[in-house]
Every structure is written in C-alpha cells, then in structure tokens.
Assembly symmetry: C2
Homo-oligomer: 325 residues x 2
C-alpha cells in the first residue's frame, strides 16, 4: 500500500508545501482514494502518476477550506476530461452543502454522478474497490473525522505441500482450487478449495486523521492499525509560549498517543508554516521531529509534499521517494 | 506598467499552465490589481514578489470555475496573514453569490471587509489606488466582462526653460510649483503652477478581457488602449474541424479585430490544453502564434505562466522575463 502526500501545510500553502491532500492506493491497483482536497490538489495530482479518471472515492475529514477548497476544481476538471464513472464522496454534511452551493452559484455541471455519503452515517460495511473504510469523530471545533482504510481482496496462497500430499497433480486443478472451486479426484475424493489454501495474511490498515486536538479519540479506529497519519501542527514549546493551539495537536501529544497504543508506524503532517524547512531557522521542521522522537520510538516520518510511503505486507513503512515528475 | 501572467490555461490546469489569473501594477507602486482568480492563484502569487496584503482590488470577468475558484482560498490566506485593509472585488452578481455561499457553508470568516461592486453597475468614476477602471460586457454564455485599466496620478514635469525665462531661481520654489502651488516672486509677480508644468503625457491603458466569442464587443473599451489581453482558446483550423468553440475566440478572430482597430500591442492567453508547448507536437502553441501573425502585424505575445510584460511610457510592450522565483 502506498500513501502519497499531495499537501502537508496547515491553513495556508507555502512555496514548498500545499494545503492538505493525501492519496492512498494498493500497489498495482487501478484505482486510488483521496483523503482531503485542499485548493490546488488537482495541480498536485498532475505531477504524479495518479489519474482523475481512476479516482475511486474522496474522503473529506472536515469543512475547513484548507481541506476542501480544491474539490470544485478537481470535479470540474474530471468532467472536462470526460469522466462518466460515479464518484463517491464521504464527508460531514457541510461538505455536501458547500459542493451544492458552488454548483448552484457557478453553474458547475458534472458529467458523472456524485454519490455523497454522510460520514456520521457511514454504513458498517462501507467499501471502496480496494478498501473497507471506517470513520471516527475527532475534536476540532467543527465536525472532523479520521478514516481507517483496511485493504480488501487479499488473495490466499495455495498450500502446495498439502496439494502434493493429497495427490492433486500440478495443472488446471490447482488453478480451480486457487479460484475457490472444489474438485473431484479420479478416485472420487472431493478436495475443497478451503482445505488447500493457506490462511490469509492480516489485512493492512492505515488510519488518516483529520485536524484533531485529542489523539486519544483515535484509539478505537487505530486498533490493529499499521500506520497513523496525523497532523502535528505545532510543537508543545510553541503552544506553551504562544498559548494557542486552535484545536490542533502538538508533535508531543501525537507521539505520546502513538507510543501508548503501541503503534508501529507514525507519519506526521499538516505543519504550521511557521516551521521552516531550513534547519538553520527557528522554529523548524526539525524541532517538530525532535519533539516527536522524544516521545515515540516506532518508525516515524515527517511528510513532505510528493513523498510516497510504502507499507509492506509485513507491516514496515518505508520512504519510497518523491513521486514528483 | 507591468502585466504578470499567473495562469494561462483554459478550463483545466496543465503541468505548465495554471488556470486564469493576471496581475497588473504600475512600476514601483505599492499595490496591485488581480484580474480573475482561478484555483491555485494564491500558490502562483507565492512564487512572485506580489503580496496579498498589498492587493488593492480583484476584478473577476465571469463566474466559470477556472476564473474564480481560487477566490475563497486566496481570501482565507490573506485573513490568516492578518490582512485588515478592505478589499474591493468587482464582478458579476453570481461571484458575490458564490463567495457568500462558500463563506456560509464552510465557516469562512475574513479579518477584513469585502467591498463588492457589481460590474454591471460599475460607477463611471470607479478607481483603484493606481487605475481608473472601466468595464464592458462580452459574449460567452454566462455574463462575461472585459476591464480597461487606465493609469492614474501621472505627474507633470516642470518646464525648466520657462522657469528660467520667468526668473524663478532653482530651489524650494521649484518644489512648490511642482507640487501644484502658486508662488509670488520678490517683485510681486505671481507664477502659477499650471503655467510652468509641461502637459501630462497620455495615460497608459491596458484592456484585459474575459472569455468572449465576439472580439468586436471590445471596440469601445479598446479606444486609445495600448494593450489588449484576450483569450485565444483555439485556432480557426481546430474549430472548423471539430465544430465547437464553446463561446470562445480563435487566434484569427482576435488578431483580425486587433488589426482592424489599429491596436499596437496584443497578448494572447487562455489556451486550450490541446495545444502543446512542444513544437514537435500538433497542435501546438506555435500554431496559435502562426495563425495570429497571419492576421496581425503589431506587437504580439503569447503569454506563459510567470511571464511579465512591461508597457513603457512610450507605449511599447516588452517581455520583461519570468517573475518566477
């Protein structure tokens, strides 16, 4: 599973970081899912291998502009490119009101249907092509949510030793058993698909949170998660000094939460523009990293725009380089 | 006067061209004016020397998304940067409805007042800090307008020969006369400011048009204009072959209009993404240029993102290089 960061700045874009948007896709999958869509997301998508025609669903965490103002333009461009496939958008109700108001006031006609799903009423069996999706309410002044994406369609492998022991000759029968069919051997013995398939490996799970001042609210959603992507808008030091956190989390709070639940991989994003990339300037992104590492010993990444993080089947999260082209 | 192109693509952004936005400012002026504001305009502004705090007015030509979807994010960012100065937005009524709907549905609170001016009721004496602004209705399916910006505050120079002939000694008296004051010489002779100031040079005039399928509608607005900036979304050849122009102009139509009115400088922009920059690919931007040159012998430019065109006091329009940083 690949997580692609299309925007990692909080509130306003900077020259290096656009406002929030994150793409997630299974490796070699045809489609992808977008979580949040700040202004300029479609321009970021143009610089990746992602296609708006293959976008399977958009999950919006909350209605603040830096997480949703890119929606109308992205939908408009998908229309102009001739998309006809329906597109699912999951989000809080104000997202629906926002989109409908923009469509009504600017004459935006789409060539494909939007299927809006209210995140507060997300069905328990909600699925995209590649992921089962769960959501959980967070704390941020306006309704904000986190999304868990659990991979679907994990293929069980054939137990070749067992096949040989049962005397099933290598050939078309193996293929039928792998596809889930049962077969009859020449001597009349029935071999079921289930008995010759190895147990499925655990499904990978990635949680992508919206803006949130209380990481503990993600405890349930993070059960069994391999990765949490969470905002770390500020450091504790800045919040203590300036006395404001605006409903956001510090690196310390997120790192401590990840430590407490034993999370293996944490990716921080959504950094206040006050944190500069240049390590010589204070405060810098390096301060956020330092504060997080003081509280968390798992695999930690601080996302940059165009970063791709690859979650392997054994649950390791690697930086797979920038996707920018 | 400098014209800065922040987006030159029609309908959808490409990797090289963002959707429409054009900045205009007098050289060395503190403030600037933005004409149109497609999605991602604020990100383009970040790569120039322009500041949202110094933005004097926004003129919107029409309500299509590629000309206005950048407004909410740009206003939001100006707020987060602490802008308090009122901002004038001129445009058709649907722009006001669009902005109000986005503010209402996404909780966008601005730290500065918006003074909305309906372009259909633009006062004859409407002015920004540096420009007198006129508007004219165009033809494009939805209400679309062109704007003329005429420079204000042209300073008259002192007629030094006349001063010497009148016996006014070089010194503070010259400064007072230059500032518009009259003076009394020692012998009691009154010297008026007006009689020792040279006639003002002509004010420069730039017309920036919205999407428009009938260039002739700009005839009045272009009277005495030094520069016309107009869309050339297609070439005649493509429109003839594909039978669609969607309310836009061809390079041929704009060039022929500019020729017919004796316009000295023409800048084409808003190119359909089908025209590639690579001259080896057909159709290309070079085809648009060729078609325009076949019909127009004045100074012609085809705008690229970040291009700056400088209009000198003697009415020449030069390419002043990319502003990108």
């Amino acid at each position: 599973m690949d997580i692609l960061f299309l925007g990692t700045s909080a509130g306003v874009p900077t020259r290096a970081r656009n406002v929030t948007a994150t793409a997630i896709r299974k490796r070699n999958a045809k489609t992808w899912v977008l979580v949040d869509c700040g202004e300029g997301t479609q321009q970021r998508v143009l610089r990746t291998s992602l296609s708006l025609n293959r976008l399977d669903a958009i999950l919006i965490t909350h209605v603040h502009g830096d997480h949703c103002y890119g929606l109308p333009g992205l939908l408009s461009s998908a229309s102009m490119m001739g998309r006809e496939t329906p597109l699912t958008i999951v989000g809080p109700q104000p997202i629906r009101a926002f989109l409908e108001a923009v469509q009504a006031t600017t004459g935006l006609h789409l060539t494909f249907p939007i299927e809006f799903v209210d995140v507060e009423r997300l069905p328990a069996d909600f699925r995209t092509s590649d992921f089962a999706v769960e959501a959980s309410a967070l704390s941020h002044g306006v309704a904000s949510h986190g999304y868990a994406l659990v991979e679907r369609g994990i293929q069980r492998k054939l137990d070749t030793r067992r096949l040989e022991a049962l005397g099933v000759a290598r050939g078309p029968a193996w293929g039928r058993l792998h596809r889930g069919e049962d077969i009859l051997l020449e001597d009349g013995t029935r071999v079921t698909s289930d008995e010759v398939l190895l147990p499925a490996r655990g499904a990978r799970k990635v949680v992508i949170a919206g803006d949130n001042d209380t990481p503990k609210l993600l405890e349930g959603l993070c059960a069994g998660a391999d990765v949490l992507v969470h905002e770390a808008t500020y450091t504790r030091e800045i919040v203590d000094r300036l006395g404001t956190d605006n409903g956001h989390s510090t690196a310390e709070a997120v790192a401590a939460f990840a430590r407490d639940i034993g999370l293996p991989n944490l990716v921080l994003t959504h950094f206040s523009p006050r944190y500069q990339h240049d390590r010589g300037v204070t405060p810098s992104i390096a301060d956020i990293e330092r504060e997080a590492r003081d509280h968390y010993r798992g695999t930690l990444w601080l996302a940059n725009d165009f970063d791709v993080y690859r979650l392997s089947r054994d649950g390791r999260l690697c930086h797979a380089g920038p996707t920018r082209s």
